[in-house]
């Protein structure tokens, strides 16, 4: 099974064991046929909910948060928000060598049809 996380500048690669990229033409933008719609999508796996971004904030700055589980790495998370806000947070955790980095991006939300003064 191919390793989907091999990156040139982030993970150490062993010369001669690099996986070549699949040809760009293989991304053919084919819409799935009717036979794919017959079955339901797979059930949500339970391990995806364990993102570091849900870790409760601590008043003590010296507390360290736990290491992320490898199964959630590089998966996108969006913040839960009840009421429509003006900003939404998107984030994910990834591995850099032996450390883990969690990146969060705050994006403004534009309501369609809203008027601005």
């Amino acid at each position: 099974m191919n390793n989907p996380h091999a990156e040139d500048h982030e993970d150490a690669t062993v010369p001669g064991f690099d996986i070549p990229n699949s040809p760009d033409s293989s991304y053919n933008n084919v819409h799935p046929g009717n036979e794919d719609d017959a079955r339901d999508p797979p059930v949500v796996p339970p391990h995806l909910q364990h993102t570091l971004l849900s870790y409760p904030a601590s008043a003590d700055a010296s507390d360290s948060i736990p290491l992320p589980q490898h199964v959630i790495l590089n998966h996108l998370y969006i913040e839960n928000r009840e009421a429509p806000r003006s900003v939404v947070a998107l984030g994910f955790s990834h591995r850099f060598r032996s450390k883990f980095v969690t990146v969060v991006l705050y994006k403004p939300v534009h309501r369609r049809g809203s008027t601005s003064s």
């Binding site: 989907p4 996380h5 990156e7 760009d24 293989s26 991304y27 053919n28 933008n29 084919v30 819409h31 799935p32 794919d36 079955r39 339901d40 999508p41 797979p42 059930v43 949500v44 796996p45 995806l48 590089n74 998966h75 996108l76 969006i78 939404v88 998107l90 984030g91 994910f92 990834h94 980095v101 990146v103 991006l105 994006k107 403004p108 939300v109 534009h110 369609r112």
Partner: protein
Amino acid sequence: MMVVLGALQELTVCWKKIGHYNMKCRWIPGTAGYGESMLNDPVYPIANQHSIIETDEAIATVNVVKFEVQLYKARDEKYLLDLQRVQGPQFLFLDLCAALLAQVQVI
């Protein structure tokens, strides 16, 4: 899923099916239009890009964002769309996801 694929097409993202409700996607931010379009549309500039670099030299230096899309079924007739980065700069991936979620009107 069709809504998602339509949104990807709108954002000049290419995809291929690799599994059940599972797509692998590839996106190259255009260089010529990226800077300018940010001035035109400061919120979601990605939707304005149409140029894709195809020369051999440029591919070596151009950022490529690859990610996988998987649709899951959750409880109560709800569905979960999982986006996982495979390759590419972190902020480009996050920005593209924000544009995609806005395109399908989740954000």
